[in-house]
Symmetry: C2
Subunit: 354 residues, 2 copies
């Protein structure tokens, strides 16, 4: 009988990974997008020690500390590595910097040929992120999962084309007027991101997430061309590279098209944004995929009885299927940490796994 009992020393499988493997649990695992960040005073103090946001992301000791800070305060079931989606363009040879209070700025787009030549090696230039993951994995309790991530190709391409945060109209226009360039850039990003995520998994990430922050507003044909097809290729490429870690896809703003995404992309979970209806989430769960989301960060910031009610509603509407509790977008910088604690307690307090 001893064969079926786990050895006393076997670490428990993190609940996040159990849900990503299709298990239904008594309560969903919980983590929050941007759970490491400016709403925490200890993050602001740490961040102030380093000049330049890119330098901070590539400072593995401090990035690991930022990753771990929310794990000390809150009973989150997963940590997500502190990094930025614009590190990959840097690895591809495009200059990236952050203007204080204004967000990212990118230099001229390198030639497609120059970027193609670096698609495989870009990950190696971002080895600091791998070191961050190793440090975090070494410090994190075994029952808590560690998530790696990359920006999805279209979203990263919009920044690379527009040079900053934007309404993405220049990038979308270019998709119409110069499809060769845009599709070529997307292909480079698929390849570079697959290697980058593979490196993250080798370094300790147990699941990875693709952040498609700008699926919003794309017509159906562009959504398939710029989101669905590249995500499919990226997941396939990950598997070719021997990566078995589960993938969470987040096509933010996909609206009704998120069902097409869930049908066509072989991810293990689909993250939903704040606007996802209950029925749509259930429809995805019924395909066997897990869903993640989708508390409104504005409500998390506002707090009060409406926040409690929304947490209960999410647990009620999605808790019966494979579900990961999260926000529909990142935590806002002026969110009171007590509100985060209150939601984590409400979700995890009913059932303790350890």
């Amino acid at each position: 009988m001893s064969g079926s009992a786990p050895a006393p020393s076997a670490p428990p499988t993190p609940v996040l990974l159990r849900v990503l493997a299709g298990e239904r649990l008594e309560r969903p695992p919980i983590w929050f997008m941007r759970q490491a960040g400016r709403y925490l005073p200890e993050y602001r103090a740490l961040r102030a020690e380093t000049s330049g946001f890119v330098a901070f992301c590539l400072d593995s000791e401090r990035a690991a500390e930022a990753t771990l800070q929310p794990m000390r305060r809150f009973a989150f079931d997963a940590a997500i590595v502190f990094a930025d989606i614009l590190l990959v363009p840097m690895g591809l040879g495009q200059e990236v910097w952050f203007e204080a209070g204004e967000g990212p700025r990118l230099g001229p787009l390198p030639s497609l040929q120059a970027m193609q030549a670096r698609a495989e090696t870009a990950a190696a230039e971002l080895s600091a992120v791998g070191k961050t993951l190793s440090l975090v994995r070494g410090a994190l309790e075994p029952e808590r999962a560690l998530i790696g991530f990359a920006g999805a190709p279209w979203t990263v391409a919009t920044y690379m084309i527009e040079g900053r945060s934007s309404d993405r109209t220049a990038a979308r226009s270019l998709a119409y007027t110069d499809p060769g360039l845009v599709d070529g850039l997307i292909d480079v990003l698929v390849e570079a991101s697959a290697h980058y995520l593979a490196m993250q998994v080798r370094s300790g990430a147990q699941a990875v997430k693709l952040f498609e922050s700008w699926a919003e507003g794309l017509p159906e044909d562009l959504f398939h061309r710029l989101v669905v097809r590249p995500h499919r290729k990226l997941v396939a490429r990950l598997r070719e590279l021997g990566v078995e870690a589960p993938v969470i896809g987040f096509p933010r703003g996909a609206g009704a098209l998120v069902l097409d995404y869930a049908d066509a992309v072989p991810v293990q979970a689909v993250a939903l944004d704040t606007s996802a209806p209950a029925a749509l989430g259930r429809a995805i769960q019924q395909t066997g995929k897990a869903i993640q989301g989708a508390l409104d960060p504005l409500l998390l910031r506002a707090g009060g009885p409406a926040l409690d009610a929304a947490v209960d509603r999410l647990l009620g509407q999605w808790g019966d299927g494979p579900y990961i509790f999260n926000l529909g977008h990142g935590i806002l910088p002026d969110t009171p940490p007590e509100h985060v604690a209150r939601v984590v307690e409400r979700v995890t307090g009913r059932v303790r796994f350890s």
Copy 2:
């Protein structure tokens, strides 16, 4: 037999109104959001004659001329009155002005009580819009429809609360933290907009459109509270006021929730934005409602074979049901008028109704 033949003098019913009455035609009627505007050199010349955008909107002669300009150039089946969604806040006593190149600015929000007192009379202060409609109706051929419009309550409320174009986070937060104020403001806007639209119909508008430009990103419960419920009330109030004109609802950015909207709001047509999948439009048509949309304005600006292909695709995917050809968002100011002419010709050229 003469009883069934129209009298020779009976004007033909505009094709737009036939579709809004549920008829299926050989080809869809066509008009474009912002078809009167900056992409036309004759508009820019006209606009330059008047200082201040609000003054221009309230200058009935010039607003009528702006409305008619695209009707002379293109075979559009409908004109839409030149006005602005922020005239209603003015009517409610909030200061509104436009900073050149920056967009609208609004003064402090009046008290709810002060606005409630003006909800019925605000329309009378906007009689210039009625005069514009009379002038246009007098000049427009009878087979072409004239559309009136108002901003939908939530969208107008976001501007009134935030004081300018914004990411709507302050308004959405207020919906959580001060529901009494936000719901009260929405109710005032329902009442004021109903009277405003009734005045427009009395002045010559044959259909009206509700522009909910900022349905985007709302969680399901807020979507029902801030969009579905107020639209239902507004249409019901219009009917109470004796208005029989058909209503086009445009919940832009509603994503998958647009189906809830189509089910719950008794509009005659649902306008879809660029991201609406083909299947979703067909699902709405199957409920008996017409749909409108949803060519990408960026593709209209880009032109070329991809534009022709998209026009054909829209005609193919939705042309079998009640359908109004339009964009998914307004014409961009730097759109070549030749591209507009090309699309109108492609849609109308196959079948002429007169």
